[in-house]
Symmetry: C2
Subunit: 245 residues, 2 copies
């Protein structure tokens, strides 16, 4: 198995989470041309305003999407794990209305739009699967909105960890009980619409509650059901096949 095979199989696995793929469709995905690149942590991979000609498949590490606001504040919209294609929308939207950046050191594979277009032209079912993926992304964004609009700081943080653990589990990179998730407190703040200081204090409170144990980048959850309840978490919006859609 070549490197490219390993990479493409990650994409296949990710898409299998949301839709059935025929063997030929899997093969076609594996045959996509891709250029592998690495980035250090905290680098823009695609910047707001650009007109990308390629999509970005996460191979290793974590990415996030964000936008800067008038007075220098930042809002983070989503985190991305291996197997995700965070800028799939660039296929049909002229320019980026936000930026895509590396959270950690990471490896990504750039896939030309043209190759994806050709693939979808010959395999319409795959086009549907990819469309579906962008729709699931949108559903996750709405779930995030609920946190921002209607949840306490405590529940926001709990909810984010619930989502990330389930997603990492789905791609085989963690269990619900434990994962490596290197999110700093200031990133957490910009993701959840809170101040860094308040995140720090709420995190201390969560630690006291015992719902989440953080040790550096390692996160563990002693009591999943309790965390889910505190977070008001319902994974339906992730539309993962294994959880019954």
């Amino acid at each position: 198995m070549t490197l490219a095979d390993t990479i493409a199989s990650r994409l296949v696995r990710r898409l299998q989470n949301i839709d059935d793929l025929l063997v030929e469709e899997q093969r076609a995905l594996m045959a996509l041309p891709m250029e592998v690149r690495t980035f250090a942590a905290d680098q823009d991979i695609v910047a707001e305003g650009e007109r990308p000609t390629r999509c970005c498949l996460v191979v290793e590490g974590f990415l996030f999407r964000y936008k800067l606001v008038a007075d220098g504040k930042r809002q983070i919209f989503s985190f991305h794990v291996p197997g995700d294609v965070p800028d799939l929308h660039s296929l049909h939207l002229g320019h980026m209305d936000h930026s895509l950046a590396s959270l950690t050191d990471c490896t990504v594979a750039m896939i030309p739009h043209r190759a994806i277009d050709e693939l979808m032209a010959t395999r319409p079912r795959l086009a549907q699967t990819l469309w579906r993926k962008t729709l699931i992304d949108a559903a996750a964004t709405r779930a995030w909105m609920i946190s921002l609009g209607r949840r306490s700081a405590f529940a926001r943080i709990a909810h984010l960890y619930c989502e990330m653990l389930v997603r990492l589990e789905a791609v085989g990179l963690a269990t619900r009980a434990q994962a490596r998730l290197p999110i700093t407190q200031s990133v957490l703040a910009d993701a959840l619409g809170l101040s860094l200081i308040h995140v720090n204090r709420t995190l201390a409170e969560i630690k006291r509650s015992g719902l989440i144990v953080r040790d550096g980048a390692m996160v563990s959850v002693p009591d999943w059901a309790a965390l889910v309840q505190a977070a008001d978490f319902d994974p339906t919006y992730l539309h993962l096949r294994s959880r019954g859609d």
Copy 2:
């Protein structure tokens, strides 16, 4: 021109806002089967958990999408104006992860998924346009997220009015200076993640500032540039062709 023609032409006009349509594509859209229905204000049109077999085209009036949270709170995700298809995502997502409801008395046209699927199979370019439409929706959701996460109550309200005025203008239902927009304060609160009382007080402040003049459902904006600045509004995310994409 029959009633169905009038209705379908609204859809055509809306899609023309975001993509060029060939004459045959316009004709194909006009030929879509649709069942016209009316709803009183504040009714669920599609409820969370349902598995719709049809999409809903707004003909007249306003709709919104929302989800109820654990303790009875409500988060509104979007408002929809004539020409919109608020649940286009139901085409590829099994069940609704949120509800679609009428904000005002309204008329909608229900279009069977099957008809849309067939249309897209014969006209792949239209499939792309519709996909693109769902992506623009997602972009609007991200813009909304910024308000929830990083803007003051004043700016949130201003931003919402900016967006709605531009969108109403795009479908020919208003100008940037004036529109009919029957949003109550408690709806505003649930849309912007604020309490009703705080919305009321902020609205009073906005009135004092003169940026927005509300008289019942009529909204007017004496100084568009000033409102845009207060809202930190950049319409790029709406990806309207007329505004240069």
